[in-house]
């Protein structure tokens, strides 16, 4: 039992370009700091003790872009939650991301915290991973060896564990623009500003029947989760309350949420089920 306030000694590297950064990362034992809102608490707890921090602050101008590419929107990894939640392009083209960003932490945290920082941290209760899964977003990772693109479904590996290698940086997250989709991010917390006990991101295209459905969960296991196979059971039909209950029951049965101060595993499973029914009823317009 120790006090949780003072990080261990580390060195600092301030790169002047992203390429400098990549070269430096090749030396190993360095952590990237962007907004620091996930990293600094862990440094203070001494859970991580890197030899160097690489400060990307100077590169903010190059990496906090929000770019409308017609069929997709590209977001630089240093875009802050505050910027994402208020940006007009995000609001109109990828609104599920916009509403989710406005629910991350609190206002001060949103002013500093970044998309890339949160996504690379991969907290199993964080908000973005579910949204990335729902959009089927594409992440661009770069290293001195070059660039690669990874789907959200392959990026998240486990608690605080991702596809990112030690010498790689998350450069961008690209979201497809899904026209005519209804959306909702249901975040269940006991207290404002907390991590989600359960979070559900939903995107759905509905006519007289469900044309497409994407539902993804956070807080319910080791990483964000999207029940791809089960989703298909609701696509192509006019969904009833009964269908939703069966669907929610099946989804809930596959979950293995953690137990912590927020709630036990079995409670979280119940919440996931109730929230699934509630959120989907709303998004799909199912009358109960």
């Amino acid at each position: 039992m120790r006090c949780n306030m003072y990080p261990t000694i580390f060195g600092l590297y301030e790169p002047s370009s992203i390429y400098d950064t990549l070269d430096f990362l090749d030396n190993g034992n360095a952590k990237i700091i962007a907004g620091g809102q996930s990293l600094i608490p862990m440094l203070k707890l001494r859970v991580i003790q890197p030899k160097f921090l690489v400060d990307l602050n100077k590169l903010r101008g190059d990496l906090d872009y929000i770019e409308d590419r017609g069929k997709s929107i590209g977001l630089g990894s240093l875009a802050t939650h505050a910027k994402i939640s208020t940006d007009q392009i995000v609001k109109s083209k990828i609104p599920l991301l916009s509403v989710t960003a406005s629910k991350v932490g609190d206002m001060q945290v949103r002013n500093l915290g970044t998309l890339g920082g949160s996504v690379s941290n991969a907290d199993p209760s964080a908000d973005y991973p579910a949204v990335l899964l729902a959009y089927d977003a594409t992440l661009t990772l770069i290293s001195s060896g070059g660039e690669r693109k990874v789907k959200a479904s392959e990026f998240f590996k486990g608690p605080f564990s991702t596809e990112l290698k030690d010498n790689e940086i998350l450069r961008e997250v690209e979201f497809p623009v899904l026209e005519g989709y209804a959306y909702k991010y249901e975040k269940i917390v006991r207290r404002a500003g907390d991590f989600a006990m359960v979070g559900i991101a939903v995107l759905a295209k509905v006519s007289d029947k469900v044309e497409d459905l994407r539902i993804a969960y956070t807080g319910v296991g080791e990483k964000a989760y999207r029940p791809y196979e089960l989703e298909k059971e609701l696509v192509g039909k006019k969904v009833t309350r009964d269908d939703l209950e069966k669907f929610a029951e099946k989804v809930s049965a596959t979950l293995t949420p953690p137990s912590d101060s927020r709630g036990s595993s079995s409670y979280r499973k119940k919440v996931a089920k109730i929230a699934t029914i509630k959120t989907l009823s709303e998004v799909l317009g199912v009358v109960s």
């Binding site: 006090c3 101060s261 709630g263 409670y267 109730i274």
Partner: protein, 744 residues
């Protein structure tokens, strides 16, 4: 113009809103920093401590263990003997650091002193302690078995075992139409003042100066003196601005003592300010279980209560922990005419962080127990909540009333307050609204609870009033305000007594070399005890002023009357002398100086009230308290806005206690020690709060006639909120906090 009874703005806010406030961490003292090596185990033998690596660490001046300190110590930290009887207790006085054994996760084992906090923190990791783990008893149930003994010297984990009884309990249970069983639990809380505690000690040439985030500078001086064998005359304790305490900063910590000892050993100032995680370990509160039976008539009359109360102490008896097991039973009868009761109260050592007092200390526990009992009686007999209470409340002509355990309630009309409160707060309309909403499928509920509080604790308080040669007034109070704003209320009382403008009054407190003696601010006592002492001192000062005025006017003092800044010759009203002139004259002549010192004795007093909560439970079992209303008879109200502030603050802590806050200790004795796991309510979780005070209050015996309001809402709030939740979900609940998973 009279100040009392008006919402006068707080006198000393400017420094707080501009950042010029000065809490202990803000003091510009060039001190070394202290950090603590803490036990990772709930129970273990310390085989050896190796400090050599830590001492080589940059910036480190010293590392001390208990062996370094023991030659300097006369004894360990005692208990608060003003209110607590050591003869009733089995305990081992707590040492400055763990000696040969650790008894909870987080217990300090060594202190590291260095030039800055970061280096100290690095060195803490380099102290190697070799432990031999022992089996532990983390729960009260395990500890009661006495298989694991936490203090070998005591031979048992039961620190206190006393049965409180009165009346013919067996007879009542024979007469009963029904016997109802109850089991009621208050879980462990963390008081969490926003300023974590801290201390700076400076020992130089035999004199010890201590700047201390405390509520009780004089008691701390006395305890330091006894523990260290340094005379009180050579110890000065100064209380800077204190960022909240809620009772938790009456406690004197081993860490505090270790800082003082380090300063003595090093001959230089040493400072420790707790991090939040250390503050969460330092002060925990509540945690008790009551199992009992209630004998009732079918009309709802409660004839008798018997039961067993178990109170968790944590691993050591702290300065303030003895209050709870001794006072909870006494207050269980509350304002109800319960003529027979037998309650066995036991306090248990466990391998967990020690318990201290927290706002309400014993009355929230007692109130939750008795109000749960009353509501359970109502449910079992299908009676109305208000009706059951009204049937059992002590009648106005029975007050002063002595309860079944011999505790004497001073004044009040409980039944009238309940009736008018229920009306004023719109309780039945709210119940109806909730019922209608429930028909629409929403889980809305309304609950009420009544309380009787014991406050105003004596045995005395100090007040001094000085009028200087310019006629300005300094009030030196034994109260130790730390957020309540009672300094402003005291100024109002003195302004009225002296009929001088409040801007001419300055209130001073919290320094053992300025304040001749002091008990302090706790137990909702400051206005009644310290306010009265100041008021009495002011009237004595006025008598002195009259003597001076008589001398100037060359009349007998009996002929002098004082009115609004002027001393007047009653026989010839044209002859008068101003306040300022009298003040000036007071510093010439044969008996110069205008001041009065008063040590005013006083006893407990009993405020009471009824509170109502409206809650809504969502699909996930998450409760939101939407409305909270209070109606209290707290005696005379000196500053309504300050009193309302106490109700509002207490309400939000009650919301915390009822549904959010729980210090969770795992099976290995580890506590979740961050705000990420301990849920203090934010602005989003708070209800709309409305507070009323009785128009015709029943006063206390204190000269100012106030009773106290500091703890009221936290005393009764959890019971009202839990009752509202029961109403919303139609399911019995007998503990706090109510977690979402209890409701779906």
């Amino acid at each position: 113009m009279k100040y009392s009874g008006r919402s006068i703005k707080r006198l000393y806010d400017d420094k707080f809103v501009t950042g010029r406030s000065s809490y202990v961490d803000d003091l510009q003292v060039s001190a070394m920093h202290a950090g603590f090596v803490r036990s990772p185990y709930a129970h273990a033998k310390i085989k050896s401590i190796d400090t050599s690596e830590a001492l080589k660490s940059p910036g480190i001046v010293a590392v001390f263990t208990y062996k370094d300190f023991s030659p300097l110590l006369k004894r360990g930290i005692g208990i608060w003997e003003t209110y607590e009887d050591p003869k009733q207790w089995k305990f081992v006085a707590r040492k400055a650091l763990a000696d040969n054994k650790v008894r909870f996760v987080g217990e300090p084992v060594a202190i590291v002193i260095g030039s800055d906090k970061y280096s100290v923190r690095d060195a803490v990791d380099k102290v190697n302690v070799d432990y031999e783990r022992l089996p532990s008893a983390v729960s009260m149930e395990d500890a009661l078995k006495d298989k694991v003994i936490i203090h070998e010297e005591l031979g048992t984990n039961v620190g206190f075992d006393s049965t409180f009884s009165g009346g013919d309990v067996e007879g009542s249970f024979k007469q009963a139409d029904k016997i109802i069983s109850v089991e009621i639990t208050n879980n462990r809380l963390i008081p969490s003042p926003m300023e974590p505690r801290g201390i700076i000690a400076s020992y130089e040439s035999g004199t010890l100066n201590v700047w201390y985030s405390t509520q009780v500078p004089h008691a701390a001086r006395s305890e330091f003196s006894k523990v260290l064998g340094i005379p009180s005359s050579k110890i000065r304790v100064i209380m800077p601005d204190v960022g909240g305490a809620f009772g938790s900063k009456v406690n004197i910590m081993p860490e505090d003592l270790s800082v003082v000892l380090s300063s003595i050993k090093l001959g230089r100032p040493v400072k420790w300010v707790a991090t939040r995680s250390e503050e969460m370990l330092a002060s925990e509160a509540r945690h008790n279980t009551f199992k009992g039976e209630v004998a009732v008539k079918s009309d709802g009359t409660v004839l008798g209560i018997k039961g067993d109360l178990l109170v968790d102490l944590g691993s050591y008896l702290t300065y303030t922990a003895p209050l709870q097991p001794a006072i909870i039973p006494l207050m269980i009868p509350s304002a109800y005419r319960i003529r027979s009761a037998s309650i066995r109260s036991r306090a248990i050592y466990t391998n967990t962080p020690p318990i201290t007092m927290y706002r309400g200390a014993s009355r929230p526990e007692a109130t939750f127990i008795i109000e749960r009992i009353m509501s359970t009686v109502a449910d079992e007999l299908k009676l109305d909540d208000v009706e059951v209470r009204e049937k059992n409340l002590v009648k106005p002509d029975e007050v002063p009333y002595t309860n079944v355990f011999g505790l004497k309630y001073d004044s009040g009309d409980y039944i009238s307050l309940l009736r008018s409160g229920v009306n004023k707060l719109g309780y039945y309309d709210m119940r109806k609204y909730a019922e209608e909403e429930r028909k629409k499928g929403r889980k809305v509920g309304v609950g009420m609870a009544f309380y009787l509080e014991i406050s105003g604790f004596g045995p005395w308080e100090y007040g001094e009033v000085r009028v200087d040669e310019n006629g300005d007034v300094i009030v030196i109070t034994g109260g130790t305000p730390h957020g309540q704003g009672t300094e402003t209320a005291i100024a109002q009382l003195v302004s009225d007594a002296l009929q001088v403008d409040i801007s001419r009054i300055r209130i001073v407190w919290g320094d053992t070399e300025i304040v001749a003696s002091s008990m302090g601010t706790y137990g909702s006592r400051t206005i009644s005890a310290a306010g009265s002492a100041a008021q009495v001192a002011a009237s004595q000062v006025l008598e002195k002023m009259k003597k001076v005025a008589a001398r100037i006017m060359k009349v007998d003092v009996e002929e002098v009357e004082y009115r609004e800044g002027e001393f007047i010759n009653k026989k010839d009203e044209r002859v008068k002398v101003s306040w300022d002139d009298v003040a000036k004259a007071g510093y010439t002549g044969t008996d110069p100086g205008i001041y009065a010192q008063v040590t005013l004795q006083g006893d407990v007093t009993f405020p009471y009230g009824v509170h109502v909560a409206l809650v809504e439970v969502d699909d996930y079992g998450i409760v939101r308290v939407k409305e909270y209303k209070a109606y209290d008879d707290i005696g005379n109200v000196i500053n309504p806005a300050l009193a309302e502030g106490q109700i509002m603050g207490g309400t939000v802590q009650a919301v915390g206690q009822a549904i959010y806050e729980e210090a969770i200790i795992n099976d290995d004795g580890g506590l979740a020690v961050t705000y990420a796991d301990y849920f203090i309510p934010t602005p989003v979780e708070v209800p709309q709060i409305t507070s009323f005070f009785a128009e015709k209050p029943h006063v206390s015996a204190y000269p100012v006639g106030s009773k106290g309001v500091g703890e009221a809402a936290l005393i009764v709030g959890p019971a009202a909120i839990v009752r509202a939740i029961e109403n919303a979900v139609n399911k019995p609940i007998n503990k706090t906090p109510v977690r979402p998973e209890d409701l779906i």
